[in-house]
Amino acid sequence: MIIPKLALRNLLGAGLRTWLNVVVLSLSFVLIIWLQGLYIGMGDQIKEAQIDVDYGGGQYWHESYDPYDPLTLEDAHGAVPDPIQNKIDKGEATPILIAQATIYPEGRLQVILLKGIDPAQTVVNFPSQFLVQENGEIPALIGTRMAKSAGLKIGDKVIVRWRDAQGTFDARDVYIAQIMKTIVPAVDQSQIWIPLETMRELMGMQNEASLVVMAKDIEELPVVSGWNFKSLKFLLADVEYLIKTKKTGGSIIYMFLLLLAMLAIFNTQVLSIFRRKKEMGSMMAMGFTRGKIIQLFTLEGAFHSVLAGIVAAIYGIPFLVWFAKKGWAMPEGYDDFGIALGEKLFPIYTAGLVFGTVMLILIVTTIVSFLPTRKIAKLKPTDALRGRLS
């Protein structure tokens, strides 16, 4: 019990050097929690938005539907089976039909996905209500990213060309009824939304769909042949992976800082063990074993992390709390990143994150502090008293 106390006294007694190490280490603390919190917040926000706008409570996919293979889209549609149609009729699901198409904005060719959605649906938080048909023309809804890439404005007309169920080419003018600003690129980039019934008619795909989005709170999931239910866990796997990649990428910043702090502590330990030989000799003369001295010096180094934790809490907690309230305004260009990001990102600091960070820093600091003390294990009391390295 006495050794931790002595270690703390020695560490505080070392003055400025200790505090330099502590400040650098405390920065690592705050930076890790801040960055990781930001990524956790980002992940949650993306997932929420994807669920809200796109995934609902999961989706039934036509067995041929594969979002990663546009070539299969031609076959990825089929009549909605009765059990699912029942849900649709009750307003607990909404079908979406997807086909590949080409548009010719300003004479250029652009391959897009044409998507049909029920204008009256309320299953997902998607502004399909703008797709009400007027004066026989086909209304189309696009996102801001699509509008930008195709140079389209509200009221513009654009030719859409597709292959129908028989495989013959057909083309029609659509007019841009509305441009939506959404944080979910997956319902925006390279796609045009039109009313579902119109699309079914044009394609000759009556009552068909490529996928059916289920309502968020759906409980009963019918099993139907030819259609596979894709749970949120499956649908969000990509997002999870993306966040994990970003987290790893972000960790390089604080790993560098942590490395710096560890080098400083390692250096302090080596120097301290080199310079305090005589002190160790006196301690041995007073009955301390080498083991106890190793403990003392290791703890001295490891306590840097305890002090750093306290210092980090002093300035870090107010900063992190303020930041969590204020949020992080996303830069403009982030819109095109391919992930659903709002204009502001709100970090989330979980207990697990804080605990994990504390443990990480504590363990790493202890190891780094212990390594140089192994020299002491071979130190002879007489050499120590002479202030010599054995």
Binding site: I2, L6, R9, N10, L12, G13, A14, K278, E279, G281, S282, M283, M284, A285, M286, G287, F288, T289, R290, G291, K292, K380, P381, T382, L385
Partner: protein, 239 residues
Amino acid sequence: MENSFLIKTKDLVKTYPVGHTTLFALNRVSLGFKPGEFAGLVGPSGSGKTTFLNIIGSLDSPTEGSAVVMGKNVEDLSHKQAAELRNRSIGFIFQTFNLLPVYTVYENVEFPLLLLNLPPKERKEKVMKALEWVRLADRAKSKPAQLSGGESQRVAVARAIVKKPSIILADEPTANLDAENSFNILDTMEELNHELNTTFIFATHDEKVIKYLRRKITLVDGKVTKDEVYEQKNSKGDI
């Protein structure tokens, strides 16, 4: 009467390899010390005084021969047992004081007691008593850097005496002190020797110390050449 010896060495040899030859730091030293002695190893620099103190202090082990301290053969002790022996029974005083710089005077004196698991109250009493012996109770809160050499060595004496060890080994304790402080320290040590019957063994070539000794053992090149015992203190009035 073997048992009456607190410390007994027999044919103690300590050698160091120097180039191709062997240096005899101690060459067949056989000495016995009884409780309450105030003895000193005297001799020129390099005669083996420190080596001898280190071995009987269980900080070092002999090359040959034996050193029995408080009934224990130093050579047979494990690192831990040797530490235990030093902790309980031996106090060291060094030429360079060797105080721990970050601790206060009080904490420096308290240090040897930390391993003994004493109740805090008892510890405090012992520390204050030791500080009173060396007349430094009023400097308890000072740091070593704020003390003069004489004061530092008095703290070291308090630190050595605080656990009331049977043996105090003092290696050139006055080498860094002026005459006044040297006598001061020696008076204190003599008092402690009388009052507590603590055995003092010095290593010194300082005439001032030699005057105080009641037994003077002369070492030359690792060999005992003279072992003189005086009935009375060697009269410091001579100086």
